[in-house]
Symmetry: C2
Subunit: 245 residues, 2 copies
DNA sequence: TAGATTGTTAATCGATTAACAATC
DNA sequence: TAGATTGTTAATCGATTAACAATC
């Protein structure tokens, strides 16, 4: 198997469009959506202000870390009061770009694709699903989550008419790269890949390879360690929470 | 909203059981499952050896990084030849604990729970799903992915009879903490949480909070940056791939 | 005002990368 | 053997945490 050589063929399998310059640390980018989640719950609970210390407590991190992250996204708090919950939440949304509505299509209406097409979290983060596709004649024409499943021959027409920004790929392993190449040839610049394999894209396209099973592998390792840890004396009250992406 | 105080109440929302000592860097733990995925594909392709340089190429990282990671999991390569694909793959499986069969239950048979109960990737990583549960009378008794949906009153019986290790939680936001507490009271020590909220667990329980929408937030930020990056001259051939968990 | 909290600079810590001897 | 590749120690880089002045 040949490894991709991004320097030669201009393809990469990461957020290559981002790597041109790095003003925002990757770790900050991982934490910010977590803050957003807490802030959304606080807003519902009607809490007007939150301190960096309080926010840090949810993740077992240092409060300086929170202040630095907030500073990086360009939001200012009030000394003594803390951060405005609604203000910081909005600033994060602006920073992440989740209040711009992004139109999306989904390709591959299997179990996972079907679940995603009905997942309320997508709309919550500004994603508007416009159409779903499959190449199985038995599925084409059926209705899933309010969408009529279209055949892949309709891809060019739909992508052009709706100015689609994101393609969600949920096809089987063997079809993932081929489907992705085809979608990209239609002009789509962002791919959210849920197929159980990594895909490569040209340097001007953003891709995020999700792999649900990878999370299981990490969980599995911690379970194994925990079993063995039981044989050693436990150190009480020293376990602080860890964020594991 | 009150932040959890792990030092006081012994609860945390991370892999607290792991934080007692840290022999393995968190970043290594994130990369190792990615290596495994590539090695699995290479094994199918019949390639006997792989060099650290080749493996590193898939992720745009330094080959020294790969050698250090491999060294941390305790596997040895052959100078000049590289690593045995099957040997390293097996060593990773041993290290992650994914060749020990873990029995699991799944609670909450909504769209996502239903998709997960039929996801072939679970078995691939050593997870054996034993039963699925819901509290909706309309779902109880129906068959999803080969499992008859059980009512939650059957939880104690099933957990005890099958020595269940992992609970996969796919219930709505409002029910997640309550369901988790109940499961833990039955003796389960690992929770894989797919509900769209963070859950807290006692220090001796391992939890992994997955949130599909967080990935979308990160992708969204990169898309936004990419749009703006178009106004600056692009630096060609410098974009190396980035792993974004 | 006094006290609490932000924002930022400096110090520490950990992770990545470079250098290179050991090995086949 | 010569050349390629591992394994590991040292140097660099980046991220976290500590310290503290500024602010309300």
């Amino acid at each position: 198997m040949k490894a991709p050589s991004p320097r030669e063929d201009g393809r990469s399998d990461g957020h290559s469009a981002q790597t041109l310059d790095h003003p925002i640390p990757e770790q900050t980018l991982r934490r910010v959506p977590l803050y957003h989640q807490i802030l959304a719950e606080m807003l519902v609970a009607g809490e007007p202000y939150v301190s960096s210390r309080h926010l840090a407590g949810f993740f077992g991190i240092d409060d300086t870390q929170v202040r630095k992250d907030v500073s990086l996204i360009g939001y200012k708090g009030k000394p003594k009061a803390g951060y405005s919950v609604s203000g910081l939440k909005l600033a994060i949304e602006e920073f992440l770009g989740i209040n711009y509505e992004n139109t999306a299509i989904l390709v591959g209406v299997g179990h996972l694709g079907s679940a995603l097409s009905q997942y309320p979290g997508l709309a919550q983060y500004g994603l508007r699903l416009v159409a779903i596709f499959d190449n199985d004649p038995a599925k084409i024409g059926s209705v899933v989550g309010g969408f009529t499943v279209l055949g892949t021959e309709s891809l060019p027409r739909v992508v052009r008419s709706f100015d689609i920004g994101i393609a969600i790929v949920c096809v089987p392993k063997g079809a993932a790269q081929e489907v992705t190449d085809r979608i990209i040839s239609l002009g789509i610049k962002a791919v959210w890949n849920f197929s159980p394999t990594r895909i490569s894209v040209p340097a001007d396209v953003v891709v995020r390879n999700e792999n649900i099973a990878l999370g299981l592998a990490i969980l599995s390792h911690y379970m194994k360690r925990q079993k063995h840890a039981g044989t050693r004396p436990a150190v009480p009250a020293s376990g602080s929470p860890t964020i594991v992406g």
